[in-house]
Amino acid sequence: MAAITDLSDLISLSSGGGTAQPQNPWFFKQARIAGAAATAPIAGRPASLWRYDGSPAAGAVPTTVAACTNATVGAIQLTSPGGGRELHLIQAWATGLVGGTLILYDRLLHIGGLSGTVTTAQTVGGTLTRYTDGVGNFAMAEIYTIIGTTATTITMSYTDQGGTSGQTSTAVVFGGTGFREVTRAIYLPLAAGDTGVQAVASTTVLATTGTAGNFGITVGHPLAYIGIGTAGAPGWRDFVTGLPGIPTVGDDACLSLLWIPVTTTAPEILGGLGIVEK
């Protein structure tokens, strides 16, 4: 592992002067899932683009818990670093059919097949392989098949960044309009004082939503927030000149996208990343 020393070093790495070539993966997402029109998102509320068709291809609905990697279908194409080197994110940009905020994150772990009608604890489990200290990691409930119309709440039992297990997240609304639709991503707020997630043991739906549907729990680590003002407008993060500096991308990261829309139109997104290895 070595830090990027200065601008000369960064220019050299970005123009092919490093041990490994720079990576500039591009991505696009059509507003479709499995060849059919995607469900309209809710303005101002996060939606997952994991299942959206495009390049990379759509990710599958997870079943059993799994740690995601760059080999998981749905991940933005990325070659793992070699020789003890690290990947560094230096650019992230995108545009789209509608305005909103695109969130680039490393999808660390996911599970699907959970039910909107089961009111006992549903097991999550699994083990993180990146950002294992949990600091900065988030957890969200991700809806793969629509759940019920009855609004209730959801919590999770998790291990925080300090290794304390049995922490309970603050209850948030689950089910009902705006909290049940396919692709909806519902962040699970951490308990007071916590700053991350090392593991999620289980999740509990307080009362039935009325329809089982299919939802899952995803643990991720945010890397970049890209604002897109309006249709066709560019949004970008330049980590060369902008704060907070140059984020490290985990080895074999499963780079994925979340979307917070300003409208209810399902997004079409096109963008790219700049990544160097040192």
């Binding site: 601008l7 002067g17 500039n24 068709d53 291809a57 650019q91 940009w93 545009t95 560019p234």
Partner: protein
Amino acid sequence: MAFSTLAAYKDAIEEQRSINISIASLATIAGRTYDTWTTAPPVGTAPTTATNPTSATTGALAPPQNAGTGLDWRIVSSRFSALSPGVYIVCDRQGHMGGLSGTVTTAQTVDVSASGRNSTGIGCWIALTIYTQIGTTATTVTASYNDSDTVSRATTAVVLGGTGFREAGRTILLPFDPASTAGGVTYIANATVLATTGTAGNFGISIIQPLFAILVPDTSGVASAAGFISGCSGGGIPKIPDDACLFVMPISTSTNCIGAGALLISETAE
């Protein structure tokens, strides 16, 4: 191989050459992708049979000369002013063909291969370009292709035909097969339109590789000075492959895409 230092980068920029870009006028839909191949100057012709265009193909944006022996061109910066903000993506047109119909509902042969410039197909996309307007009836289209592992795959269906998906110049990116663990595309065998759009028109399928994005955030006439250090760009400091057939895929914020500028390129050792 690289600009080894900031000083070397600055020296190279001082010796830069330019590739002029002009988009005379292109009717667009905000936020959607277009292909300037037959409209920008230089104006290319709609392809017929499958070919692998090069920098010598009419329509290509080409460096003023070939890179010297042992040297590569790299895009170090750009200047671009547009009627409206948007994103202007410089792509290498690896292979293309045309003459497909919006009314034929059986598989239509494409037979386009990635060029020798990127035979692995990694980083390449499948683009459907409409050369002559097709019909008003919205349907879907898919393509059969080989991924970068040369395994036969099928794209998922996307809309073709109807407003926003029929106009000349519109390019529609086809999503990769979720069964494929490899990104990219090395070969496109055929394309199938699910139901007639009502008008044959003329569309084609291309393999394209995006290289560099010029981000234009400002309003009419304010030039974007994009570059690795100054921002407003995407794609790093990319190498222009020898013989690359460069063209611009714009995404505008308005219904009339007009712009002019230049890619600034410098030579560096391979």
